[in-house]
């Protein structure tokens, strides 16, 4: 077995108020392993704003600025400007927001920061719903999922709209670097975080972040479900650097039913519905594969 490339040094203190098995906790941990301590983080309203615990406790070895729910893009723009004024251009500025704070209410400020080519990294930890307020749907909730605002009930009112493709939105902004990461693949995660740190301009990281209570998932299965998301191609690991698509984990594609069946939020789905999800996943993967191949051909 070859030794791990993940730094042993921890930049988060042990212990915070996240739920057992919280994926978002690991997202922060691996992110900081990749970025190091010359980093400042801005966090809007979301689970992570609560996880450090009550004032005056703090769970990270880097400073953290709290900002309004929809303001992360603006907050990192302000922090960047202030640090530049102070001559601290080498400090990495990070916006760390949930999916709701990113694809819904925060999309405007995010888009503005990306368009202004703000020199910062924006990380969206994606637990696919508004978890902090009690599992309401977000634009990032996948088709078919139960949430408290997409209840199943007799009318089967689960989420009927597909997940908003934030990576496509960010790619359309022409950002120099955008990548997906999963807590099940820490080597890949840390490598991408480091790469993002060493590129300048607006960088985007989309992190899959399993949430046991929100996904109706056994907290022991966080890593397993994240790995399954990658292996079933539900959440492909790839990066887009200077417009070039590179799939960093080429997988054979296990049946999506494996991924779905681990989570209570999908337990109501019929076989036909699962098959429909499979078709969507296959389609998205082949689009991604074609894009990656096209980039290979060009090189």
């Amino acid at each position: 077995m070859c030794p791990t490339t993940i730094p042993e040094e921890e930049h988060a203190h042990p212990g915070n108020t996240g739920c057992p098995g919280c994926g978002a906790n690991l997202v922060m941990r691996y992110l900081l392993k990749g970025l190091g301590e010359r980093t400042v983080i801005s966090i809007p309203a979301c689970c992570w704003a609560v996880m450090p615990g009550y004032y005056p406790s703090h769970c990270l070895k880097v400073p953290m600025v709290y900002c309004a729910f929809e303001a992360t893009g603006a907050s990192i723009s302000g922090i960047r400007a202030a640090l530049d004024v102070r001559g601290e251009e080498d400090v990495t500025v990070v916006g760390f927001a949930g999916d709701g704070g990113t694809v819904d209410i925060g999309l405007q400020a995010l888009s503005g920061a990306a368009e202004r080519e703000t020199d910062a990294i924006y990380v969206m930890y994606d637990n696919e719903a508004y978890m902090n307020t009690g599992i309401q749907r977000s634009g990032s909730t996948p088709w078919g999922a139960w949430t408290t605002t997409t209840p199943v009930g007799p009318t089967k009112d689960y989420k009927r709209e597909p997940k908003k493709d934030i990576m496509a939105i960010m790619r359309a902004h022409g950002v120099p670097y955008a990548a997906t990461v999963s807590v099940s693949h820490p080597e890949d995660f840390v490598k991408k975080a480091r790469k993002a740190r060493d590129i300048s301009g607006f960088r985007f990281i989309h992190a899959l972040s399993p949430c046991p209570p929100g996904w109706r998932l056994n907290p022991m299965k966080t890593i397993e479900v994240a790995r399954s998301a990658v292996n079933t191609r539900v959440f492909p690991l790839y990066e887009v650097e200077g417009g070039r698509v590179n799939i960093t984990r080429k997988v054979k594609g296990r049946p999506v039913a494996e991924y779905l069946s681990m989570q209570g939020r999908f337990s109501h789905l019929t076989e036909e519905e699962v098959a429909a999800i499979q078709r969507t996943v296959d389609q998205a993967w082949s689009v991604l594969e074609r894009e990656a191949e096209a980039c290979d051909d060009r090189s």
């Binding site: 301590e37 010359r38 400042v40 801005s42 704003a49 609560v50 450090p52 615990g53 009550y54 004032y55 005056p56 406790s57 703090h58 990270l60 070895k61 880097v62 400073p63 953290m64 600025v65 709290y66 900002c67 309004a68 929809e70 303001a71 893009g73 603006a74 907050s75 990192i76 723009s77 302000g78 922090i79 400007a81 202030a82 640090l83 530049d84 004024v85 102070r86 601290e88 400090v91 405007q108 400020a109 888009s111 503005g112 368009e115 202004r116």
Partner: protein, 396 residues
């Protein structure tokens, strides 16, 4: 150096004189020329600042607050719908105790659309924890920006400040303005050096979650800061007067009130007209005066209490209306003065909404009216709306 300039340019020159380091702004009529001028200053190298052309006012304020936490002196400017869109982050700024300075070009709110002078936007922010300065002239705009940084950044204050200039009447009207020498401003206003700011190697959370057993103390401290700002405003103004030879009368700028039978309370550019009317009526033997509400926050409670004990009649003119509760200035003055028997007869007048002129004639009529009232029982509960067209202005 004396220059002829608009209120908006006075704002831009004020921010430049104060050496704002991070400016984040979004355009809105009639604030645009402030932002354009500042962008020019930055582009030409005359002002060493980072200019962030944000995508909304909400982001403008959010960027300023975060930049201020980052240790930079920040400035922004907005108006009406931009200011009200910021509301959430205005409270964030004061609660984070960040001394952001902002010009609000006070303009009416839609619908119906109107881009003209009106204090509704500013008045609606009274509970956000900002210092609020209403200005009468372009010179005052420039000078107050410089003073506001000094007051707001005082260690025992640390609160944001809003400089209010009336849409078009100040924002787009040129007046001679003395732009103070940079050296003089630099020695009056030291650089922003907060005790606590973002620092690598000092991991802390700026604005984390607190329990019910902690929250009130944070608010109490902000309240004390606002109270201390009263004295600080006066001190800073005295220092300013010594350095630059100009003063503006503290929280409540009284004009010919000493022996007055009636005083008009007014804010913003219309105070200029009121001064003129006071002189005119005085020359006709009427003992009248004007008290210009210069700071709406902190509110000059003591000054009003003293005034109401001395003066038999007080007319309060609001350029905004708080639905179901009269004009905001009036309600607050009433709250300051209390229910004593021997205080002034007070009456509320609403005028100048949506940019309607507050004419000398209208002000004269207000004085005549207030002088004719002998007891509070003669004053109707609802304010009198001045100059209504084809409508009954007085409601009973």
């Amino acid at each position: 150096m004396r220059k002829v300039m608009t209120g908006n340019y006075a704002s831009a020159y004020g921010a430049k004189a104060a050496r704002a380091q991070v400016i984040a702004a979004y355009p809105i009529t009639p604030q645009t020329s402030i932002v354009e001028k500042l962008a020019d200053f930055v582009a030409s190298g005359e002002l060493d600042a980072k200019f962030i052309p944000v995508e909304s006012e909400h982001s403008a304020m959010a960027a300023c607050v975060s930049a201020s936490i980052g240790g930079a002196r920040t400035y922004t400017a907005t108006s009406s719908h931009g200011l009200t869109l910021m509301h959430e982050v205005l409270i964030w700024a004061s609660s984070a105790r960040q001394p952001v300075v902002m010009t609000n070009v006070s303009r009416a709110m839609a619908p119906p659309w109107s881009v003209w002078a009106d204090h509704m936007d500013s008045v609606a922010q009274r509970d956000t924890g900002w210092l609020q300065f209403f200005c009468e002239s372009n010179q005052e705009v420039l000078d107050t920006i410089v003073m506001a940084y000094k007051v707001g950044e005082s260690r025992d204050v640390m609160l944001p400040a809003m400089i209010i200039e009336d849409a078009f009447i100040l924002s787009h009207t040129s007046e001679p303005v003395d732009v103070p020498e940079q050296d003089a401003v630099d020695s009056f206003l030291p650089g922003f050096d907060p005790d606590i700011k973002l620092e690598i190697g000092k991991p802390m959370g700026f604005g984390s979650l607190v329990k019910p057993d902690q929250y009130m103390e944070f608010r109490y401290k902000a309240m004390l800061a606002m109270t201390r700002a009263r004295t600080r405003i006066a001190e800073v103004e005295r220092e300013f007067e010594e350095a630059f030879g100009r003063g503006y009368g503290g929280l409540l700028d009284e004009y010919r009130c000493e022996d007055a039978d009636a005083v008009l309370v007014i804010a913003g550019s219309a105070a200029g007209t009121a001064r003129h009317v006071v002189d005119e009526l005085r020359s006709r033997g009427l003992r009248v005066g004007m008290a210009r509400l210069r700071t709406f926050r902190p509110f000059p409670h003591d000054e009003f209490r003293a005034l109401a004990k001395r003066i038999p009649g007080i007319a309060v003119l609001d350029r905004s209306y708080t639905y179901g509760a009269s004009g905001a200035f009036y309600t607050e003055i009433r709250g300051s003065v209390g229910p004593e028997e021997d205080v002034a007869v007070m009456k509320n007048y609403i005028a100048g909404l949506g940019g309607r002129d507050i004419t000398p004639k209208a002000i004269e009529r207000v004085f005549e009216d207030i002088l004719s009232l002998k007891s509070q029982s003669q004053v109707p509960q609802e304010p009198e709306w001045i100059g209504m067209k084809g409508m009954e202005g007085r409601m009973r």
